[in-house]
């Protein structure tokens, strides 16, 4: 088999034989790298610790990572839902690949959100886990999207997988506010002592650090998506190609064995 050296497809859908990188992703990758350095300088060096009344002190720096990853994960899951809806409308594999890639990257950001929230809580509350409404509903959301990814792994047929996970991808985003609301309500009734929540007042350089953090997280999300999407798209193409190859092989075997293709094989299509 000789494959064309430049790959197939065009633009964002391009399948490159060497990998998932392209000019655009390389440029964005470089920008992300530089921005991460700027972000770290702002977050860890330039901005002052929080010395206000309910002082977070140095702990405020966790915010610059925690809040942006939370925003990135919500963005990712929203993209999954939107791409799922688009798949149900257009029925093209690209949308399915987009939904799957976004959910996977979203789960990574959820893990970062939960870990940083828990580390923050360990220092502030003295325990690794407090039944804070936001942390609790985020944990449930994490399991919900693990379930989405588990469903994707469980279905072998690509079309069936795309359709079922598209429906789940939409239902999942509907669930997020319900779960959040009920957990919030649940905790507000049981409030024993006023626990500090994860939203300190920030201004000046601290606000800038948080803002840059959000931009970096979203750029990182886009960069990861470019690679993960191209990989998912290439996987889907390989899956389809593998099926065609297997069919061709069976035909060749039949020809070699009997000389003529039996009518049953000739007419047997895979839909």
């Amino acid at each position: 088999m000789t494959s064309p050296p430049t790959g197939t497809g065009a633009g964002f859908m391009r399948l490159h034989p060497d990998g998932t990188a392209s000019r655009g992703s390389r440029i964005l990758g470089a920008v992300v790298l530089v921005s991460v350095v700027v972000f770290l300088f702002l977050a860890l060096v330039a901005s002052k610790p929080d010395e206000s009344l309910d002082a977070q002190g140095q702990l405020v720096r966790i915010m610059y990572l925690h809040v942006p990853s939370a925003i990135a994960c919500y963005t990712a899951f929203f993209v999954t839902a939107a791409a799922s809806a688009m798949y149900l409308w257009k029925k093209t594999m690209g949308w399915d690949a987009l939904a799957a890639s976004s959910a996977e990257i979203g789960v990574i950001f959820v893990v970062i959100t939960l870990l940083t929230g828990s580390i923050w809580g360990h220092t502030t509350w003295g325990t690794w886990w407090e039944w804070d409404p936001r942390l609790t509903s985020t944990a449930l959301m994490f399991v919900m999207y693990l379930g989405y990814l588990a469903l994707r792994r469980a279905i072998i047929d690509p079309v069936s997988r795309a359709k079922q996970s598209a429906v789940l991808g939409i239902i999942a985003i509907v669930n997020v506010p319900i779960v959040h609301f009920s957990v919030d309500w649940w905790r507000s009734l049981h409030q024993t002592a006023t626990v500090a929540s994860l939203d300190p007042k920030i201004n000046g350089l601290r606000l800038l650090a948080l803002f840059v953090g959000m931009i970096v997280a979203l750029m990182l999300y886009v960069w990861l998506m470019m690679h993960r999407f191209r990989l998912a798209y290439a996987e889907a193409a390989l899956e389809a190609k593998g099926l065609d190859l297997a069919l061709a092989e069976r035909r060749a075997e039949a020809l070699a064995d009997g000389g003529a293709v039996p009518a049953s094989v000739e007419h047997e299509g895979v839909s």
């Binding site: 449930l140 399991v143 919900m144 079922q164 429906v167 009920s182 957990v183 309500w185």
Partner: protein
């Protein structure tokens, strides 16, 4: 014509739920397997929580709904096991029944099974944990609304997992985070019903009602693509 469509949807739902109840009448899987399991869970809770320290009575609302959720998973698996065995699901797809009607029928079947389980569990917590409710109206309303929500979500997620080789392990992780609001609201409303005053209980019933309506609506629209691919 919308009126006719709704009529046929309900008629198809009645056909499906009638079939499911006949199946249960003949096989008695819920009565002879899931119901004893639910009661067993109540006994196991006592081992975990030391019955002498009155924790059981205080924790009754939460334990009740936890036992309902565990038995619900079995009930949903059973409800779709009878549809996927021996390629029955193909027959169901070809049957010309309205998919929304099938969804409602399956949900009604699961709901009726759940209600029977809940009545038995209620008798269980009353006898075993010594919990006596004060607001019976709130208690019954909570049971009915929570059951509608669980049945609708269960019918929807059940068909999603049906037919997969990993359905038994996949269903709990898909379903339990989704029905977490029902556990919260059911527990809070029951706590109010067991307490002196019903307090916020009716507010939680409102949440249960909203959950049920939402999942019934999602199911009516989303069941067709799921049934086609299961």
């Amino acid at each position: 014509m919308p009126e006719l469509a709704a009529d046929s949807m309900l008629r198809d739902a009645a056909t499906v739920v009638g079939k499911d109840l006949r199946l249960e009448w003949r096989s008695r899987v819920t009565l002879s397997q899931i119901l004893p399991f639910a009661l067993l869970v109540l006994i196991l809770f006592a081992f975990a929580l030391d019955p002498d320290r009155r924790i059981l009575e205080e924790a009754t609302p939460g334990l009740f709904w936890l036992a309902v959720l565990f038995s619900m998973l079995l009930a949903i698996q059973r409800a779709y096991a009878v549809e996927t065995a021996d390629g029955v699901i193909d027959a169901l797809r070809l049957s010309d029944l309205d998919p929304a009607g099938i969804f409602l029928g399956k949900a009604a079947g699961i709901g009726l099974h759940l209600l029977v389980l809940e009545v038995a569990l209620f008798a269980g917590v009353t006898v075993l944990y010594g919990a006596t409710p004060r607001g019976y109206l709130l208690l019954v309303a909570t049971m009915l609304l929570a059951t509608a929500g669980l049945a609708a979500a269960g019918s929807l997620y059940g068909v999603l997992a049906a037919g997969l080789r990993v359905r038994d392990t996949l269903l709990p992780i898909l379903m339990l985070p989704v029905v977490a609001p029902v556990l919260i609201a059911g527990t809070e409303a029951f706590s109010a019903a067991y307490a002196e005053s019903s307090g916020d209980g009716w507010k939680w019933c409102g949440l249960l009602a909203a959950f049920s309506v939402l999942y019934l609506a999602i199911g009516i629209f989303a069941f067709e693509p799921l049934l086609e691919e299961s």
